[in-house]
Amino acid sequence: MTAQVRIPTVLRNYTGGAKDVTVEGSTVGEVFEALDAAHPGIRGRLVDEQNTLRRFVNVYVDNEDVRFADGLGTPVADRAQVSIIPSVAGG
């Protein structure tokens, strides 16, 4: 499975400035592992020591918030878009 990952501005220092990165993975967790293999250190910004998403990180697979699905276990279909977005809500 190939997924396109949208990288937020604050993490682009890990990706050499790239906004979009293509990696392999069939779940969000696998996508993050592959992302970290290509860009070491980035996973630690997204996932804590208990292997759960940090509470101010929102992740969407094709516009679905993974917290409404299975978190890091959420399936990622071939050519899906995975968006990483800081949690900021203003009203």
Partner: protein
């Protein structure tokens, strides 16, 4: 006021270096999760852990009640406690604040409360508390060299942003959910900026705004990339309440919760006044109010959780319809620390709350006001709010923007011919 006196050099902005004193007594941005500090600039998420950033101030602030009283009759009287320059009042803004604090004896009597006040922020220039936060965000945007003032909004922020940009003579770009109340669409569009209705919920709109903010280097999204400054504006609600009470803190407050920012900043504001010796640092129990149709924080409070699970909103209180409230965990912290609570009320209770406030005090609040009043009633009825303690509730918006909420419930008493006989026959004496 902060733990450190370190003053960091402001970071680069879209226009280059920031002028000295651009942010007044603000010293840095600090992560509320891990404590890491960043220089003052256009940052909103911690570079280490993605946590939200908050403005921290120099330790050596000295401010008296007299200095404040001699200031302008708007939020800029509290300039030393905001991330704004000393000459902030010389720039065009909507000059919000110093809204009335209404002693609500009729409502208090009806609910069985001894002393109750309503902080009525529908008196602001665009009829909601959002004028406060936008004024501070506009200042930050100007000082950082942004050229466009933008926001995602549940409605009130939309009008406040469009009006502030018009006053400042810059472009505004406002994103709202397409099912927003027509009154809020019109009262934004009239200011002439760019208004975009998005097919989605507020959380979808917010996500889009975050993505645009990441790509448009000279756009200031007031509640995204200048959010640390913006949110500080809500402290002025606390400052005004304390000043209007004769420089003391209330014993209890009931605050509507959308993102949760306002509640956390009211608590912070009271704390700062105590630290500066402007009031006695007496305890204040903080209560949060949500609509049951969007109550992720109230649900987490009731369950004893520290983490707020997002929900998909379904409520008439659209201005509070944030399913993924960024400050939710901090609302839980504050309400638990102070002995308060977070409660939610149904849409029917919200409508009744709007009517109750209007009937007893002559204040027509919007749906968020209905949430707050209905929650106040629920807390009193349930014995969780002390009826003998002085209480302040916040009406943060104007009922004229959410007319649909009451359209089916209120109307003329009678329609008659223009004669005295008809008046009598209709039983109107």
């Amino acid at each position: 006021m902060s733990a450190s006196t370190t003053t960091l050099v402001p970071s680069e902005s879209p226009a280059g270096a920031v002028r000295p004193g651009a942010f007044g007594n603000a010293a840095a941005l600090a992560c509320r999760e891990c404590g890491a500090r960043q220089p003052l600039g256009a940052l909103f998420a911690c570079l280490d852990c993605f946590g939200p950033l908050e403005v921290v101030y120099a330790d050596e602030i000295v401010l008296s009640r007299e200095q404040i009283a001699a200031g302008p009759h708007n939020i800029w009287r509290y300039q030393p406690l905001l991330p704004v320059p000393v000459d902030v009042a010389s720039f065009p803004s909507t000059e919000p604040g110093m809204t009335r604090l209404v002693r609500a004896d009729n409502l208090a009597r009806e609910l069985g409360i001894r002393t109750l006040w309503v902080k009525d922020d529908s008196n602001n220039p665009t009829h909601s508390f959002k004028d406060r936060v936008v004024a501070v965000a506009l200042t930050a945007a100007r000082e950082l060299g942004f050229r466009v003032l933008a926001c995602p909004s549940t409605g009130n922020l939309a009008g406040a942003t469009a009006a502030a940009a018009a006053r400042a003579g810059i472009r505004s770009v406002v994103l709202v959910p397409k099912d927003l109340e027509p009154q809020k669409v019109l009262t934004t569009a009239v200011y002439g900026g760019t208004l975009v209705c998005v097919d989605g919920t507020y959380d979808d709109v917010n996500r889009l705004a975050i993505e645009i903010a990441g790509e448009q280097a000279d756009w200031a999204f007031v509640n995204v990339n200048v959010r640390p400054y913006y949110s500080e504006g809500s402290k002025t609600l606390a400052f005004e309440v304390a000043e209007q009470l004769g420089w003391r803190l209330p014993e209890q407050v009931v605050v509507p919760v959308a993102s949760g920012s306002q509640l956390t900043k009211i608590d912070k504001g009271f704390g700062e006044l105590g630290c500066l010796g402007l009031v006695e640092p007496t305890p204040c129990r903080v209560f949060g109010a949500q609509a049951t149709g969007c109550s992720p924080v109230a649900t987490a409070f009731a369950a004893g959780h520290d983490v707020v699970r997002p929900v998909r909103p379904d409520t008439i209180a659209k201005s509070l319809a944030i399913g993924d409230p960024a400050d939710g965990p901090y609302v839980l912290d504050i309400t638990r620390r102070t002995g308060g609570a977070v409660e939610s009320v149904s849409d029917e209770e919200i409508r009744a709350g709007i009517a109750l406030l209007a009937r007893t005090e002559g204040i027509f609040g919007e749906t968020a006001g209905g949430v707050t009043i209905a929650t106040l009633k629920k807390l009193v009825d349930g014995g969780r709010l002390d009826p003998d303690a002085e209480t302040v509730v916040f009406n943060t918006g104007d009922g004229l923007k959410t007319l649909d909420a009451v359209a089916d419930a209120v109307g003329p008493t009678a329609t008659i011919a223009a004669s005295y006989d008809a008046f009598v026959s209709a039983g109107l004496l």
